[in-house]
């Protein structure tokens, strides 16, 4: 009789140790066999949420070279394991099919995209920078003061850029003499 009753989750909840019904009381034969997909992760990368600036800790679980789960890092003194709806959706940010994986190129006046290999695109962009810079170079301003710059090339960066990325951007642009270098941080 008791064995029969024990198959009933509510009975187990009321009589066993799991009074809140969050663990063993509500498990079935099938769910007992189930394993979290994080359990067999071959790697857990320590990361930080890419959305707002609170800087919640994330753990990224990887199996067979793909990301299987992203969840809050319970060690973080900032977030103590929590993530908001956006942070909780960050696996989808990384893995969803809406993501672009290939270079796209639109010729002047064209009505649609075409494909361009990445190396070709890089080479063309480098040529554009060099040519535009040369054509728009300002040695001095109207008053004759040296300015050694170009106002023909501008840049606007998002504020989910890493510090290291921002550093190389500013360093390269500055060496090129491009001064219209801006970021979401102004906006």
């Amino acid at each position: 009789m008791r064995r029969w009753l024990n198959k009933w989750p509510l009975f187990r909840q009321l009589t066993g140790s799991d009074r809140l019904g969050l663990g063993s009381a509500v498990q079935s034969g099938r769910s007992r066999q189930m394993r979290a997909r994080t359990e067999n992760a071959e790697k857990v990368a320590k990361s930080i949420c890419p959305y707002c600036a609170v800087g919640c800790g994330q753990r990224i679980f990887v199996s067979n070279g793909t990301i299987t789960q992203i969840e809050g890092d319970s060690d973080s003194p900032i977030s103590r394991g929590r993530l908001c709806p956006k942070g909780s959706a960050s696996k989808q940010l990384v893995t969803s099919p809406t993501r672009e994986r290939w270079v796209r190129y639109r010729r002047p006046y064209a009505t649609d995209w075409e494909y361009l290999p990445l190396d070709t695109a890089m080479d063309m962009i480098a040529d554009r920078v060099i040519e535009t810079r040369e054509r728009t170079w300002q040695k001095t301003d109207e008053a004759g003061a040296p300015v050694q710059r170009t106002e023909g090339i501008a840049s606007l960066g998002g504020a989910a850029l890493d510090n290291e990325e921002n550093y190389l951007m500013k360093k390269l642009y500055t060496a090129l003499g491009a001064v219209q270098i801006e970021n979401q941080a102004r906006i």
Partner: protein, 855 residues
Amino acid sequence: MAEAHPVGFQWVVEAKRRGARIVHIDPRFTRTSALAHEFMSVRAGTDIALLGGLINYVLTHERDFRDYVTAYTNAGAILREEFADTEDLDGLFSGFDPDTGSYDVASWAYENVPDVSPAVGKERWVEPTNRGPSVGGRRDDEAATVEQFGSGGATVGGKPKVDPTLQHPRCVYQVLKRHFARYTPAAVAEICGVDIEQFLDVARAITENSGRERTTAWVYSVGWTQHTVGAQNIRSASILQLLLGNIGRPGGGILALRGHASIQGSTDVPTLFNLLPGYLPMPDAHRHPDIDSYVRADEGRIGFWGNIRAYAVSLLKAYWGDHATAANDFRYDHLPRLTGDHGTYQTVRDQLAGRGKGYFLAGENPAVGSANGKLQRLGMANLEWLVVRDMRLIESATFWKDGPEIDTGELDTERIGTEVFFLPAASHAEKDGTFTNTQRLLQWHEKAVEPPEEARSDLWFYYHLGRIIREKLADSTDPRDLPVQELTWSYPTEGPHAEPSAQAVLAEMSGFGPDGPLSGYPQLRADGSTSSGCWIYCGVYADGHNQAANRQPYSEQSWVAPGWAWAWPDNRRILYNRASADPQGRPWSERKRYLWWDEEQRRWAGPDRPDFEAEKPPDFQPEPNATAQDGLAGDEPFIMQADGKGWLFAPAGLLDGPLPTHYEPVESPVPNSLYGQQENPIFRPYQHAGNRYHPIDSDVYPYVFTTYRLTEHHTAGGMSRMLPYLSELQPEFFCEVSPALARERGLRHLGWATIVSARSAIEARVMVTDRIRPLRVRGRVVHQVGLPYHWGTNGLSIGDAANDLLPIALEPNVDIQESKAATCDIRPGRRPRGRALPELVRTYRRRAGIERSDS
């Protein structure tokens, strides 16, 4: 805060559980209000009036923390006789020049202290805007910005004469009292639309919760900054917090909640036109022809900013390595020079005029995220080439194909000559690097997997772009190319895509000396023996160890958690924490104990690193001519300031006044109640036919609107509207209106509304809700419309872009746009399609009398 920074808000809830009182001040009721003890609904754009009212309350009732105020602020400093306040000049300060629309700031300086702040750029009179006689003349786009002063702020020529009794009629404390006297509870109620009793209740709450035993914190976001008085909003909070003794102490502060993972980092290691890393200014073509003139205003001044030459030389060494020597000014001449404003809205102006040829967008979507989206898109349609790096096809990548102007016929795909490169970007999970969060914490994130297919990190993109350009220019003999050829650009690469090592870049930012990695910025030298790519980050790679990757669990360390990541500068968690102790070095109270002088160890002790010289005793007095940190006494906590004090009154550094003053937003439903001067007299207008401003108190655009975020979406939507989960949670663009406004305009809940400004008209689903309350302002009802600004035409959840309604009107100090308060009309139904849309907008402009024949 609960909406846009939900996980940060857990600490507010934690504080509430421990008995803290939570007050929420906002134009709309949110999840934050729901958990606060008190919600005060205010009119958008009236924060200085509200904060000024609180300052006035503190001063009138003498509720300031007097021991703190006399010891640590410039309350006793004597000002010059020539100084005239807004009380004397009906809303202007002394020094205003109506011909240039700018201030000569000399009269704002301390008495008997030379005024050494550098002159701002040459300014020119411009035509008044289209709006009519109430708008004065203003500066054009040639003006310098205050951020060119760098992180030390503008300098003052030394320590002022002080009246410690605060009785001198020209001392800051007395000036402050007079300046804020008219910010009475009744005035606050009339301007902000708040209830007098509720306001007084809040005033009592913050004063009772400040002093020796208690501290009050203020938390803000872009609701304070995105105004033509943005910097002065923050100044208002600084004055209030300094008066109450809430700076540098645990539980105090003015806490900016920044909205992007590394927006703090993007300011510290700036991709901003006017700054070099560590808040060093970009050189100005006329004021800074050589390195001596570049550092002249600051070198040798009192405070840590007096070491500016060491910081600048170390940066030049990081950039140009062995090529940078004392003999060639450390290649200072390799730096390009500024001649005024080169900011993002100036970029758009240049694009519209055909001067801007190429444009890089790296994870940014100005077609949706910037004010007046149409001008952004028209600018991009006028480029020669555009590079967009993003994870998804954002609107800024596809405007030429399906932007709103294609539908209205204002643009034609086959006539847009812009060549567009879209390069897929790596996500945070696919790269190493650091984000700097809102509390200055550099947190390292590890790469989990390689990015897919042709997606690459921005580190990869910029490193390899630089490498290719350098290869192509290697044989050039043009002196123009020397800065590129001599640039230090050899980072180790790794993995299948030759990804540059982010750790190597971080180490370069941190810096090296003759003995290897540096441990902190006090080691930096001006003789070229040290390098550091960002002096405030110096030490993040101390001992050759990546300190940003430190991950001591919070449960295994003190509540300050110094073993988790690394805070700039020097892993200090609370800035100015010397102020948490009294002048003698004792905690102000046991309850608020944080840092104290340990007489036995002869050093500062506490759970945090001192934001002060660790072994400088409280009774230290500087030699008469000492400079930099040696000029600071042992009881002067504000170590970046030339007088070591917290500034209640800013004797230099701001272009629009030494004290905050209530001005109405550029677009306002009412005249200024306090002064004849309507708006910030030196706000920066943006003259363009597509950027007309509304008349004040206009019955064509009678309602106030403000923009904001939702929990489930992120900024311009590129990281949220494209995700199924988040699009499902918050599927559609909507506007929030009160039941009263819905009745007035015939708006139906869940129906459609069209919102119209002089810039554009957009449509949104209607949410009729008590969360937005009609306000009583100057004796009449003012309605506000709330608009989340996340939407655009691409992605899974689509809608019109709220920012298309906004004008570009810029704050004069930092060039931020006024995007949190403007006016509009709202009407039932969907907006017209095609050419009928710009026609509707024109019809409104004609009715308002702001349509010109030339547009």
